[in-house]
Symmetry: C2
């Protein structure tokens, strides 16, 4: 980035300062440098050198986006002696801006400050157009801000009867001359309101330009509110983040239940609803769109703006949510060959899906990958960038269907696996959604088999003296997805469950918590109201789910021709709550260095946010998705074989060397069955 650019011409200028007619200007951190005539505004010099400094008002001292700081001192390496008085005095325009909006000490508006001598100028990150939106996790790339919608303030020539031109054409001319934006198209609704805006703003307006191609909004005078909304439409919940398109910051977030739940809890029951009720797809489309309008209202309220300030929305969702959002009947996704209406990205007007944001707002929906691998997975890929990784990465988005991506920078595979809703607490006798009162953490003493646990809404473990008092209001009501994973893994580690997933009746001798339950046994986790028991059926449900998940991943590994992966990422709300170690103990995922198994949170939603904030990400994901090799697990003969092997804990045959280093895995044993005298003994032994 260190380069020297000298401006073409050097105009004589009697402004004093360095004693010569021009001065040396170095911008940091880019290191770009050049000589400019004294009196040159710093912003203008930056433009000529291609230094990245933001501006909406085009150098008129209105927007305050172009702030810089003088670095004073002797910079021998740069060959510059930089002094504060080498910059023109704080101007009236800067004073006015500072009074109105506030400016940090030392900051200057680069459009107003003129060069009077050699200078080193710091461009703070928040003054850059392509600023980095910093993400929390270290292994992730930052998002480079380059939003699809940008605002431009322009001054337009008044109409002249002697040289008649349309108001729009004079606006276009101003955008070309002042912002180098030629050949823009314009929405009809903008033309409808243009004349009033120009006259109300005294021939000064701010326009929104979409993709550098289309004028989608116009406001009188200076306007700097431009928001974008990124939404993940899940089968159960809809989560949205409102971002300030000029900073990339999330200014408001909101989540709500997907109202389609009334048509069916899981995806397949919703498709069945359509099959049984012609026109049902329209009801569901209407329901989700209404919910999205509620979401828009909620985030706008939180951000103290209006829904009309939302100029762009991006969406991810599984294929059925994707189709229902777009108003496409999802019926084809209900049976083989599971044909998507489209697997490309789609872009259209918000009005086309009845979304009440800015009437010219555009919607971008990330591409689906295959009939069971949706735009949510495309979002996960965009967020986690396995296609840029040197490491062979397995990404698992756990939900009712698990979506699985495997690969590295050379090759990507994707599949989905029908895990069912057990991981979400459904199909579990005492299961419930993650809500206050739900058990989310479980530990079982290896000797006494006594459990202790934590519930959502209380920070204390259940063996703490104040636990009962603190959970008095919320109660202990059930066990959620992450709780059941931990509980089963702990039961296995404590020998309560055998490798084959049988609750071992012989353990009843050790603890009264193991009780006969017909021909099988159960484990009493909590003796309250309600009484919370883990039954043999509960264990089976989780086994089936985890076997499906593992088998899907294993199928992709076969296709890739590998036996182990370098990194595992658990995406989705579920993934961010479970302890990855326990997921591995159960054999949900293949063996891997535990330090490289991480949760990505709502990576799908992050992908939607990236597509909102960075234009080129859209091309990137469209390109990557085309290259993804899709594997249909349902028709792969080896899926069944992998599934059977994966029923055992953690696996019938696959070795788990990394896991074995981290936890004491019990030796295989045969369970004592109900009404049976063979105890199977206390043969468990610590390994490692």
């Amino acid at each position: 980035m260190d380069e020297t650019v000298t401006t073409e011409t050097t105009h004589p200028n009697g402004n004093g300062g360095n004693g010569g007619e021009d001065a040396l200007l170095v911008f940091m951190p880019s290191g770009r440098r050049g000589r400019f005539p004294l009196g040159t505004p710093v912003l203008q010099a930056a433009r000529q050198l291609g230094v990245d400094i933001d501006s909406v008002c085009g150098g008129r001292g209105i927007c305050g986006r172009c702030q810089v700081v003088v670095s004073e001192g002797e910079f021998a390496k740069l060959g510059v002696t930089s002094k504060g008085d080498h910059l023109s005095d704080f101007s009236a325009v800067e004073q006015r801006y500072g009074d109105k909006r506030g400016m940090k000490p030392g900051r200057r508006l680069s459009c107003q400050a003129h060069l009077l001598g050699d200078l080193v100028i710091d461009v703070p990150a928040d003054s850059q157009v392509h600023k980095q939106v910093v993400r929390k996790r270290a292994e992730m790339r930052d998002i480079t801000l380059d939003p699809v919608v940008r605002l431009y303030y322009v001054e337009v020539h008044e109409p002249d009867m002697h040289d008649p031109t349309g108001d729009l054409q004079r606006l276009e001319k101003a955008l070309t001359e002042q912002w180098n934006l030629p050949k823009l198209d314009t929405d009809l609704r903008v033309i409808q309101g243009l004349q009033e805006a120009l006259r109300k703003g005294g021939w000064k307006v701010t326009v929104a330009v979409h993709m550098g191609k289309q004028i989608t909004a116009v406001w009188p005078g200076f306007h700097d509110k431009a928001y974008g909304l990124a939404v993940d439409i899940g089968s159960t919940t809809i989560a949205g983040h409102l971002c300030d398109l000029s900073t990339g910051e999330v200014v408001a977030s909101s989540g709500l239940m997907n109202p389609q739940i009334r048509f069916g809890e899981d995806l397949m029951s919703r498709v069945s609803y359509v099959m049984m009720n012609p026109g049902g797809e329209q009801e569901m489309t209407k329901a989700v769109r209404e919910a999205l309008n509620d979401l828009c209202e909620a985030v706008a309220k939180e951000a103290k703006c209006t829904v009309r300030d939302i100029l762009e929305c991006t969406f991810v969702g599984n294929p059925i949510m994707h189709h229902l959002l777009l108003g496409i009947n999802p019926i084809e996704l209900g049976g083989a060959p599971f044909a998507l209406a489209t697997d490309g990205p789609t872009m259209f007007w918000a009005t086309e899906i009845d979304l009440k944001v800015h009437p010219n707002a555009r919607i971008y929906v990330l591409p689906c990958i295959a009939g069971h691998v949706g735009a949510d997975t495309a979002g996960v890929i965009l967020s986690e960038t396995p296609h840029e990784s040197d490491e062979m990465t397995l990404i698992v988005d756990v939900g009712t269907n698990a979506e699985i991506v495997l690969g590295d920078k050379n090759r990507l595979l994707a599949a989905s696996s029908p895990t069912g809703p057990a991981f979400e607490g459904a199909q579990i006798s005492c299961g419930q959604r993650a809500a206050p009162g739900a058990i989310e953490r479980v530990r079982i003493d290896r000797n006494t088999l006594e459990p202790r646990f934590k519930v959502i809404g209380c920070d204390l473990w259940s063996d703490h003296p104040d636990f009962a008092k603190e959970t008095d209001a919320i109660g202990v009501t059930g066990i959620c997805g992450s709780g059941i994973i931990e509980c089963l893994a702990e039961m296995f580690l404590a020998g309560v469950i055998t490798q084959d997933g049988v609750i071992d009746g012989a353990m009843a001798a050790t603890s009264p918590r193991i009780e006969a339950d017909g021909r099988t046994f159960s484990y009493l986790l909590h003796d309250g109201s309600p009484q919370l028991k883990i039954t043999q059926n509960d264990v089976r449900a989780i086994q089936l789910a985890k076997a499906a998940l593992y088998a899907g991943a294993r199928l992709l590994m076969d296709r890739m021709g590998i036996d182990r992966v370098d990194r595992i990422t658990l995406a989705g709300a579920f993934g961010s709550h479970i302890d990855v170690k326990y997921a591995m103990v159960l054999g949900m995922i293949p063996d891997c260095d535990l330090a490289k198994v991480t949760s990505a949170g709502n990576a799908a939603g992050t992908g939607a946010r990236i597509a909102l904030l960075n234009r080129s990400a859209r091309d990137e994901i469209a390109r990557v998705v085309k290259q993804v090799e899709k594997v249909e697990t349902a028709v792969e003969p080896k899926f069944q074989e992998h599934f059977v092997g994966a029923m055992a804990l953690p696996h019938k045959t696959a070795p788990y060397p990394h896991l074995a280093k981290a936890v004491n895995l019990p030796e295989p044993k045969v369970a004592a069955m109900g009404g049976d005298d063979e105890t199977g003994g206390r043969r468990r032994r610590r390994r490692g």
Copy 2:
């Protein structure tokens, strides 16, 4: 066009015929020729040679667009002996097509007929893609058919679970492979209906592609209905032509009153309505859009199709009609500087202006030129092509405002002139709209001053014995625009009116039809019920209107630096009803060879039709309109001077040599005024 192309490779083919392995094929009228392997379908050979043959079904024998005829005989000049049996036998596919749709004798489907020997093949005009739409007048260019919307029949691969792709992507692939249409975008509504259409059509569908870029419609199976609507929105009437986009033919026409008339008869009264009634512009926009929906219903009914078969609409109209159609408040056009919201062409969805045609139909509105020179004038330019003319051409579109274009291939000027509604029969004491009973033709005997006339709805002159009987039902109710022009011109030629426009009281001595009417005189045109008189005020009203028209034209001639024009075209409904000679006698237009003064009819509407049928015409008019120099008559100081000189008949000072050769112009004389003894005498003398 006569060129020889030889195909790259010549495959051996044992099909007999010419005895060799390939044969010579010559297409007429293009003369394109090449050698092809025996067995090659004629359509395929035509494609390889770039011969223009239409096809919607892509060579599947369904659409019947690719019909050709064998020219049998010895073509020494072409070096071909062409025989009917050098083409394969009439096939079952052709038989089926002929039975279903009918085929003229000798016609063959070029996609089904195979080459068996040397042949000369005639491509009839109706089989060409870029066929000429022949226009009636000789001086006009024909329209080359190249519509914005074209239909393509495709066979799409079924989905494959092992290689999952979206239905849309397989459609796109089919369009690329079968029609060389890569990288198309698709409307959301098409995606919504795509899966059903594909399955209903057995993976065969017809798609509509807009501008070669966007899929806007999809139908199951083969579909060949594609219509476009071209509309001229006048202040008084709205006229639309429905065209078959595959032939360019007008299949239905309809006209209706512009319902905005209830808000004001002329343009300025409608703008005043908006000024007085905030929100009034929305009422007028709603009214015109509703009328357009009525128009669509009417033409669809006439053409026996539905409004959903209308895939494209084009519009012309004056600036105020243009703005109201688009939903733009026209208030800025009501006062200086008369700023248009846009002077560019606009394109948008039919739904954006509530037009109930195909939901993905696009609207194209021709560009306006200046605040008083509208998209109707752009249509006139597109139709009359002065910008391609070697002759200096004056085009006058007579209406409430006359719009005037002057120029040739080097330079074009345009202006409007405030003629007022007198030419349309308004402001005339016995004036009326052109309707049955209105006098439209007038002759006055030079000696007796007795008139004879014709009324709309009767072919007889009023001096015919049966006239009274034949007009018994309709009556003689008033005088329309063309009638008043002829009447005044005849009065002038008969000496009843002086050069200064005064009804000469001295003529009362010759005929009792000249009667004193207060201080002025009047001429009794028809003594019935009602009595129809031409008053001095009527003459003044026409003088003011024609002086404004002439002054506008003269101003453009000044700007162009010329004293005479080579050709004059009268556009508009009015222009097509008046006798151009009489228009010149009154001095509405400058002197010109009468053989070169013609009526163009509704040239604005023709321009809309050209923009509908020919894609490149849209670029052409956008380009030409930008180059037109706009002259604002209201602020030109010389306008008033020209106006005063033009009050006289035909003009105070300008010579009319061409006119003088065609008619006997009276010598200037001074009129005898009412109650005055000076008769001014019978000094008129035949000239020439």
